[in-house]
Amino acid sequence: MTRRSVIILQSFALLIFGAVFLWFYAGGRLGAYLTSAGSFQIQALLAGVVLCVVGLFLLLTSGKEAGCTHDHDHDHDHGDGDGDTAGGHHHHHEDDSVGGMLVTASVILVPLVGAAIFTPDAYSKHWVQNNSANWDKGVIGETPEAFDLRRGQPAGAGAEGEPGEGDAAAAAAGWGPYTFEDFKLQVDQNDDGEFLMDVISIFYTGGDEEVKNVVDGLPVETMGQVMPEKVRNPDGTRLRVFRLMMNCCIADARPVSVPVDFGTSLPDYKEMGWYKIHGTMSYEKWDEYTIPVIRATRMEPTEAPEQGTFGRRG
């Protein structure tokens, strides 16, 4: 009876565990936790399904005697074969008591269910502040995983031009210098002719001299959450717009941001609020870093994007 009770407890624990995964997937909330790149969300869905299937399987077969090929003394004490001990075998399953299983299930399920109920599906401004130490730095080295303007350059685009000096990879790929025409092919424009650029793409333009030279001075529209600017803002005319970038899950996410300069005075805004920002691209040299700065002409509140707070992984 004890063994069967333990199996029933295990099955319910698996069913609850799996149900949380399926709940978040079905509610479209998993995208706030796992990147859409790769197969992480599918893995979570499969895990939910498998956990529920195994849980149900265990529940339906809980009364079945199954052989045990492990972990027990085999002293040939075939005395009464009463079922619970499979013919007198002394099992050493590490914690096959109902109490032990209740403790195990509680340690797993209480935080899981509690977090699932009370999670806001987003980080607060405290977390953003705790992870904004690099906001006074620009791009160092190559970062193709996050920046795809050059990488996504159509084959042959600009191929008639001379390869840029020091850009052997581009030359080897048959690319010429990055041009405004290349940029137009890659980036959509709104009805006002502004280029629709992701905050993360804007940030990484500062790490590529050719791209920077093309983008500098262009009208752009971007969208992100805003925070007060804490660095190099003596006149108080700047904000920060940021998007989160993650590789796998939100635990490895980091806020990638660019300064937004309003020139004279700041408009009213809500910290962590979502805004569309319109303006012109410019660049400043902060120590050894090239920092993109949006010279804003206007900012308007907007809804959070459907895919959640994350920019693309690249």
């Binding site: 295990q10 956990l51 972990d71 085999h74 009464d80 977090a115 109920i117 607060s124 405290h126 635990a251």
Partner: protein, 339 residues
């Protein structure tokens, strides 16, 4: 739709769920493999597959991740079961520590994260050092008895299996003495002395093996999952409640940067398939410090300490954590000095 607004405690719940959603599928995969190993794998298979020479077996175990790529979350339940199926402890620990790094998925992700001239250098250095150190750990572990390393339940499981095999071998000699008055139980004993003595006493045939596999998998999932959950709680606490800028101050030198990055890898508990993307962005740290981060983290972190605790004695886990920390720390501090 979430029920609450972002807050400090909300950050904690959010990060906790994120890590859990990412890691739990791998633990589930590992425990399913564990269940099938338990139910279907012959006890002597590991003996037949590994080289007779123990050092050769350890060296081969360090490369198994290239053929059976398993991340650090999935490896623990697999190892736990393989040990009970006869895989030598030294080989098991070598495989356990190396597989999260010496595997093609991690090689690819490291190459992607460190694009440019550094990519191959960082990737090969990571894999090479990890392989060498894990083989060394296996050789050291070989000097100790299984009893001094494994948790009581795991060790007794192995002893039971060995006893069972011994009794099977001796069956022909003493069976008449042992059973002449014990044949009252309901299943029939033919006792032709050639039967498979794998605890299949009539009520446990092939059709029951799936049930056994699922029960083993469920038990392992919950056992390992409990330790995983505790580790994730601590990691989420660190990730959301501590100012991450405090870490950057340690990047000034390798004497500080290497241990700081290893300590960071320990508390962040990142998956080995994605940690390279984080390390690549640690601008204030040297290559040596980043390599320390990339080799120590997949072998030892907060959640792994608790998961290892499901298999090994606490003092062994502590010794392993400290031993790896010191060994890798010295290697990479020296590495930094040379470069």
């Amino acid at each position: 739709m979430p029920f609450t607004e972002p807050s400090l405690i909300g950050d904690f719940f959010y990060a906790f769920l994120g890590i859990l959603f990412e890691g739990a599928p791998y633990i589930l995969l590992g425990t399913l493999i564990s269940g099938f190993i338990d139910a279907y794998m012959p006890s002597d298979l590991m003996d037949r597959l590994l080289p007779r020479n123990r050092y050769g077996a350890i060296a081969l175990s360090g490369l198994l991740g290239a053929v059976f790529p398993v991340c650090e979350c999935a490896i623990v339940p697999v190892i736990r079961r393989l040990v009970q199926k006869g895989l030598p402890i030294s080989c098991a620990i070598t495989y356990m520590l190396s597989a999260p790094i010496v595997n093609p998925i991690v090689v690819f992700s490291t190459l992607s994260a460190f694009s440019g001239d550094d990519a191959w250098f960082m990737t090969l250095s990571r894999v090479g050092v990890a392989y060498a150190v894990t083989v060394l750990v296996g050789i050291v572990v070989q000097q100790f008895s299984a009893r001094s390393i494994l948790r009581g339940g795991i060790y007794r499981g192995i002893q039971s299996a060995i006893d069972g095999q011994d009794k099977q071998q001796n069956h022909a000699h003493d069976h008449d003495h042992d059973h002449d008055h014990e044949h009252e139980h309901e299943h029939e004993h033919e006792h032709d002395h050639d039967h498979d003595h794998d605890h299949d006493h009539g009520h446990s045939g092939e059709r029951d093996r799936l049930v056994l596999a699922m029960r083993t998998a469920a038990r392992d999932f919950l056992d390992v999952g409990m330790y995983f959950t505790i580790g994730v709680l601590i990691t989420a606490l660190y990730r959301t409640q501590i100012d991450q800028a405090s870490v950057d101050a340690f990047g000034a030198s390798d004497w500080m940067g290497v241990p700081a990055m290893m300590a960071l890898a320990f508390v962040l508990s990142l998956c080995s398939t994605s940690d390279a993307f984080i390390a690549a962005q640690m601008l204030s740290f040297s290559q040596a410090a980043k390599l320390a981060f990339l080799t120590y983290g997949p072998m030892m972190d907060v959640k792994l300490v608790f998961m290892y605790g499901a298999v090994f004695k606490p003092r062994f886990v502590v010794a392993l954590a400290l031993g790896l920390f010191v060994t890798l720390g010295l290697i990479f501090i020296q590495w930094g000095n040379l470069s």
